[in-house]
C-alpha cells in the first residue's frame, strides 16, 4: 500500500512541477504600452468571422462602430454635439421634407486604400432597397423613392413621404445604417451570407486579428489615419493597437483591471464598488462621489401598462408617484449615485438648458385636482438637494456649490406625499383594510406585479425593486417578477407595471426629442395580446398625436420651433404620467491609468467616456501614454 501511495504522491508532484515549467506565459505580440484594452459591452461574439453588420446582430461594439467604421454623423452626448463624420455638414431638406441633400467629406479613404465617394452612399441605399435579407430593408424600401449623386461628394435622397428625420438613420448614436464600400460589395454574389472578412471601413483602425471563439478582436492603427474623418477632425490616435475584449464573469473583469490587463471596463454597481475599493491606478468618471457616469443619454424609471386597470387611470398613476420617497428610492436603487429628472428626458448635455430648466416654472405651477376644489402642487424643486443631503449623511463628500449639485443630482422631482396619494386613490374608490393595506374599488386586495428584466445589475431591475419597496411601504402588496421573457411579455401587453425606460432614449445631442416622443403615436399602439410597436405604456392621446404630427413638420435644425413643440409633449406626459421618469442611467465604468491617462472624465468631458460607443475613436487622439512598460 505504501508503495502505491508513494507512486501517487510522486506523480502529483511531477505534474505540478511540469505544469509550471511547461505553462510559462506566452507573450501576446501586442506591446502593452502601445495597446489599449477595452471591455466589450455586448459580450462574446457569436460569429467571430462575420463582420457583415447590415445583416442581423454582429456585436458592433467589438470595434466596428467604435474604431473601424465611420458614420455620416455621430452623436457625442458628453458635449451635446453632432459630429460630422463621412458627411461634411448637416443634411439639407427641401420645404416639404421629401428630399434631402447630403454633403460628403472629401479626401477620405477606406482602410484598403480606395477612396470614399458618393458612389458608396448611393450603392449602400440601393443595395439595402434591393435585398430583403438586409436588416434595414423594410425602412428604406418603404421610404426611399430615389437616390442619386450630384457630384462625387454630394448625394440626394428622394422620399416617398414627407420625413423630416430621415437622415437620422445615418446618425450613429449607438449604431446606425453604415455605408458599404462599393468596390467590395458590388462583387459579392449574396450580400446576406457574405461575411465581410476582413472588415474594411473608413475609421482610423483596421482589423488585425480576432479570436475564433469570440472573446477578443484586435485592431491596428492605419498608416493612413490622416485619410479618416477621425484623423482630420481630432488628429492621430495614440494607441497603436486596440483590443476589444469580453469577460463572461464580472469578477474576472475586475481582476483583469486590477492586474492592468484591462484599461476600460464597464461594471455593474457591485463590481464598480469592488474595483473602486482597490484604489491604485483605477479611476471613475467623476473623481468624487457619486463617481459614476451621469451623462448617459438614457432615462430610467417605471412604466405602467395603461391598457390594464387600474393603471388606465391617470389619478391612480399619479397616486403611485406621490407614494414614492425619491430620496429613499434612489438610495435603494443606486445608493444615491444618479441624477434625477422630473420630465421624460435625462438631465444631461443640452437637455437641462433646452427643457428641464425652462420647465421649472411650469412644473411649480402644475397642480393635481384632489376633488372638492382642492389642489396639490406635486413638484419639489429641492428634491435633488435632499439626495445630496442623504449622500452627506452616508459620509460622502458633496459640494455645496449649487451649480455642481445641479450637475450631479439634477434639479427637482416630485414630493413624497402619501396622504395626497391616499386622497387620490380614495377619490377613485380605493379603500384600506384593517391592516392599512390598499384594496381595489371592487374590494379585493391590490397587488402590483412589476414584470421586468432578470438581471440584478440592470437599472430596470434596480428601479423595479425600488418601486416595490416604496409601494409596499405605502400599503400595496407589490412584487417584482424577474423574467428573461420580459421584453416579449411587455410587447404583447402581458404585464401590469414594468421598469422599461419611461421614454425611448433621446439622441443625446441637439434639441430634437422626436426619437423619444414619436413612440407615443397612437398608430403604433396595439391592443393587449398583439405586438406593440410604440412605447411599452401603450399610452397615446389625440393631443399627443397632434403634437407629434406638428413635430414631424418641424425642421429639427430649427431649435426654437423644435424646443417649443417638444416641450408641449413633455408637459402632456407629466400631466398624464403613463410612465414615471426617475433618474438618468448611471454608468458604472472605470479606467485604469497605469498605461494611459487623460481620459474624458467629468473634470474634462471632451468626449463621450464609454469604450463601446462610436466616439471612442474620437477620444483616442487625446489619450496620453504614461510611459509604463
Amino acid at each position: 500500500m505504501s508503495r502505491t501511495r508513494n507512486v501517487l504522491l510522486l506523480l502529483c508532484l511531477t505534474i505540478l512541477v511540469m505544469s509550471s515549467a511547461v505553462f510559462a506565459a506566452d507573450p501576446s505580440g501586442f506591446p502593452r504600452d502601445q495597446t489599449l484594452i477595452v471591455s466589450m459591452l455586448t459580450g462574446r461574439v457569436g460569429t467571430p468571422s462575420n463582420f457583415n453588420e447590415w445583416v442581423g446582430w454582429r456585436n458592433r461594439d467589438r470595434g466596428m462602430q467604435n474604431l473601424a467604421n465611420e458614420p455620416l454623423w455621430s452623436v457625442d452626448f458628453a458635449t451635446g454635439q453632432i459630429i460630422n463624420g463621412l458627411a461634411s455638414g448637416d443634411p439639407v431638406y427641401n420645404e416639404d421634407f421629401t428630399q434631402l441633400t447630403i454633403p460628403l467629406r472629401e479626401g477620405v479613404a477606406w482602410s484598403d486604400g480606395m477612396p470614399f465617394t458618393a458612389d458608396d452612399v448611393v450603392f449602400t441605399i440601393e443595395t439595402i432597397i434591393a435585398e430583403p435579407g438586409l436588416a434595414n430593408h423594410p425602412t428604406f424600401a418603404t421610404a426611399v423613392k430615389d437616390v442619386y449623386k450630384t457630384g462625387d461628394y454630394e448625394v440626394v435622397i428622394e422620399l416617398l413621404e414627407s420625413d423630416s428625420r430621415f437622415h437620422t438613420h445615418f446618425l450613429d448614436r449607438w449604431g446606425c445604417t453604415w455605408i458599404m464600400p462599393k468596390h467590395i460589395f458590388e462583387n459579392v454574389e449574396d450580400v446576406v451570407s457574405f461575411e465581410f472578412n476582413p472588415f474594411v471601413g473608413c475609421g482610423p483602425y483596421k482589423l488585425h486579428s480576432f479570436d475564433p471563439a469570440g472573446y477578443w478582436t484586435a485592431w491596428e492603427k492605419r498608416d493612413d489615419w490622416d485619410k479618416t474623418p477621425t484623423g482630420m477632425l481630432f488628429g492621430e490616435p495614440v494607441p497603436k493597437y486596440v483590443l476589444i475584449q469580453t469577460y463572461s464573469d464580472g469578477s474576472a473583469k475586475i481582476i483583469a483591471q486590477l492586474t492592468h490587463q484591462l484599461d476600460v471596463a464597464d461594471h455593474d454597481a457591485e463590481g464598480f464598488a469592488a474595483a473602486m475599493a482597490q484604489g491604485g491606478t483605477i479611476r471613475a468618471y467623476q473623481l468624487t462621489y457619486p463617481w459614476v457616469v451621469n451623462n448617459d443619454p438614457c432615462l430610467t424609471g417605471i412604466t405602467f401598462n395603461t391598457m390594464v386597470a387600474p393603471f388606465d387611470n391617470k389619478e391612480v398613476r399619479w397616486a403611485l408617484v406621490l407614494a414614492i420617497d425619491i430620496v429613499e428610492y434612489l438610495a435603494q436603487a443606486v445608493d444615491g449615485q444618479a441624477t434625477l429628472s422630473p420630465v421624460h428626458v435625462p438631465h444631461l448635455g443640452a437637455y437641462p438648458e433646452y427643457y428641464i430648466e425652462p420647465m421649472q416654472e411650469w412644473l411649480k405651477n402644475f397642480a393635481l385636482d384632489l376633488g372638492d376644489g382642492e389642489k396639490f402642487y406635486p413638484y419639489d424643486p429641492d428634491a435633488a438637494l435632499k439626495v445630496a443631503e442623504y449622500a452627506r449623511q452616508r459620509g460622502h463628500q458633496v459640494s455645496d456649490d449649487p451649480e455642481e449639485l445641479k450637475a450631479t443630482f439634477g434639479l427637482g422631482w416630485y414630493k413624497y406625499a402619501p396622504d395626497v396619494a391616499a386622497k387620490l386613490l380614495e377619490k377613485n374608490g380605493f379603500t384600506r383594510d384593517a391592516n392599512g393595506k390598499w384594496l381595489l374599488p371592487d374590494g379585493t386586495p391590490w397587488r402590483i406585479r412589476i414584470t421586468d428584466i432578470n438581471d440584478t445589475g440592470h437599472h430596470q431591475f434596480k428601479n423595479g425593486n425600488a418601486a416595490v419597496q416604496q409601494w409596499k411601504k405605502f400599503g400595496i402588496d407589490a412584487e417584482y417578477i424577474a423574467t428573461d421573457a420580459y421584453s416579449t411579455l411587455q410587447q404583447v401587453g402581458d404585464f401590469e407595471v414594468g421598469a422599461v425606460w419611461p421614454a425611448l432614449e433621446p439622441w443625446g445631442a441637439g434639441a430634437d426629442l422626436y426619437r423619444s416622443l414619436n413612440a407615443f403615436y397612437s398608430e403604433y399602439m396595439a391592443p393587449i395580446g398583439d405586438n406593440n410597436r410604440g412605447h411599452a405604456s401603450r399610452w397615446s392621446s389625440a393631443e399627443m398625436d397632434d403634437i407629434i404630427k406638428r413635430m414631424r413638420a418641424t425642421d429639427p435644425t430649427d431649435i426654437e420651433a423644435t424646443v417649443a413643440v417638444s416641450t408641449e409633449a413633455l408637459q402632456l406626459l407629466i400631466e398624464e404620467m403613463p410612465s414615471v421618469p426617475t433618474y438618468g442611467y448611471s454608468g458604472f465604468m472605470t479606467w485604469d491609468e497605469y498605461y494611459w491617462t487623460n481620459w474624458p472624465g467629468a473634470e474634462n468631458p471632451y468626449m463621450g467616456p464609454y469604450g463601446h460607443w462610436g466616439t471612442l475613436k474620437y477620444m483616442l487622439p487625446s489619450l496620453q501614454p504614461t510611459g509604463n512598460k
Partner: protein
C-alpha cells in the same frame, strides 16, 4: 436469440427515445413566451438602434419569413425533420444567417476537449483513489483524504472556481484569467499553441477535476466499503489471495459497475457544455452558446445542441448496455 430478443427491441427503444426527445425539444421552446423575431427586434432596439415604429411590422414579417417561422408548427416540424435528415439544423436566428451546425462546430472542440478530459480524469482519479481509500478505510491517510474530500465536495462550484481564479490569476498571477488561448494567437497545430491552450485550460480543468473527483471519490469509497464487507471478499482473504488483487480485481471491479453507467451518463452530458466554467473563466464552449440560444429564443440553435446531446446520451447508454457483460460476467442477454 440475442438479436431478436434483446438487440432489436433495444435499438427500437433507442430510436424512439431520440425521436421523442427531439420532438419535445422542438415544441417546448415554441411554448415559451419568447418569440425569436420579437426578441431580435427588441435586442436591436435595446442596443440603441433606432427603428422607426412605422417600419417594425414590415421587419417582423421579413424576419419571420427568413427564419422559416411563417408556416404552422406542424409544417415547421415537418420541414425540420426533412432538414435534419440532410444533416442541417437550419440557420441561427440570432446569428442570422450563420448555420447552426457551424456555430456548434466552432464551440464543440473546446467543450469536448475540456469536458472529456476532466470527466475521465476525475472519474479515474475519484474511483481509483476512492476505491483504495474505501478498501483501506481504517488507515490514517484514508481518513485524512476522506476529511479533505468532505471539505471540498460541498463547496459550490462557482465559489471554488472563482477562488482558483483569484488565487492563481490575481494573487500568484501564474495562469491567465480568461480565454481559450493568448490574445493575438491564431489556432495552429504547433507545440507552442497547444501548450498555450493547455495553459488556458488548466484552471477550468482543475476546478472541474477537483470537485468532480471528490464526488466520485466519496461514492466509490462508500460502495467499496460495502463490497469489502461481502462474503466473497472475506473468502478471498481467507484463501490467501494477495491484498492488491483482492482490492482491484474483487472489490473495486465490483464497485465500479454502477460508476460505469454514471460515467456514460456524464460523458453524454458533455454536449450540454459547462456553463458556469465557461462564464467564470471566459472559456469557449457549448454551454454559453446554449444559454444564449435559450435566452434569445433561437429555436434552431437550441434544437441543434440539445439534439446532439440527446443522441450522445442515448448512444452512450446503449453502448454501455451492450458492453456491460464485459464488466460484469454475471449479466447475459438472452
Amino acid at each position: 436469440m440475442f438479436v431478436r430478443k434483446y438487440l432489436i427491441p433495444r435499438l427500437l427503444q433507442y430510436f424512439l427515445v431520440i425521436f421523442l426527445g427531439i420532438t419535445i425539444v422542438f415544441f417546448i421552446p415554441r411554448l415559451a413566451p419568447t418569440n425569436p423575431v420579437e426578441r431580435t427586434i427588441a435586442e436591436i432596439r435595446s442596443r440603441g438602434t433606432y427603428l422607426d415604429p412605422a417600419h417594425i411590422q414590415a421587419m417582423v414579417d421579413a424576419l419571420t419569413e427568413m427564419y422559416g417561422l411563417s408556416g404552422s408548427w406542424l409544417q415547421q416540424y415537418k420541414d425540420f425533420w426533412v432538414r435534419l435528415f440532410h444533416g442541417d439544423f437550419g440557420v441561427s436566428f440570432f446569428q442570422f444567417p450563420t448555420p447552426v451546425i457551424r456555430l456548434i462546430k466552432n464551440a464543440l472542440p473546446w467543450t469536448v476537449g475540456l469536458l472529456l478530459t476532466t470527466t475521465i480524469l476525475s472519474w479515474v482519479f475519484g474511483n481509483v483513489v476512492g476505491g483504495m481509500a474505501g478498501y483501506a478505510h481504517n488507515k490514517r491517510w484514508s481518513k485524512v483524504l476522506d476529511a479533505l474530500m468532505m471539505f471540498v465536495r460541498p463547496i459550490p462550484y462557482y465559489v471554488f472556481a472563482l477562488s482558483l481564479l483569484i488565487l492563481f490569476g490575481y494573487v500568484f498571477r501564474k495562469f491567465p484569467i480568461g480565454g481559450g488561448a493568448t490574445i493575438g494567437r491564431q489556432p495552429s497545430w504547433t507545440l507552442s499553441y497547444i501548450l498555450d491552450v493547455l495553459r488556458h485550460a488548466f484552471l477550468p480543468a482543475l476546478s472541474m477535476v477537483v470537485l468532480g473527483a471528490a464526488s466520485w471519490f466519496q461514492t466509490t469509497k462508500l460502495i467499496v466499503q460495502n463490497v469489502k464487507s461481502e462474503d466473497f471478499v472475506q473468502y478471498a482473504q481467507l484463501g490467501g489471495i494477495k491484498e492488491g488483487k483482492i482490492m482491484f480485481r474483487y472489490v473495486i471491479r465490483n464497485a465500479m459497475l454502477p460508476q460505469i453507467t454514471n460515467l456514460a451518463l456524464s460523458l453524454g452530458q458533455i454536449l450540454s457544455g459547462a456553463l458556469i466554467t465557461e462564464i467564470v473563466f471566459s472559456y469557449p464552449g457549448l454551454g454559453h452558446l446554449l444559454f444564449s440560444a435559450i435566452s434569445t429564443g433561437d429555436y434552431n440553435l437550441i434544437m441543434g445542441i440539445i439534439s446532439l446531446s440527446i443522441v450522445a446520451i442515448t448512444t452512450l447508454v446503449l453502448i454501455v448496455d451492450l458492453i456491460y457483460p464485459l464488466f460484469d460476467p454475471r449479466i447475459r442477454y438472452k
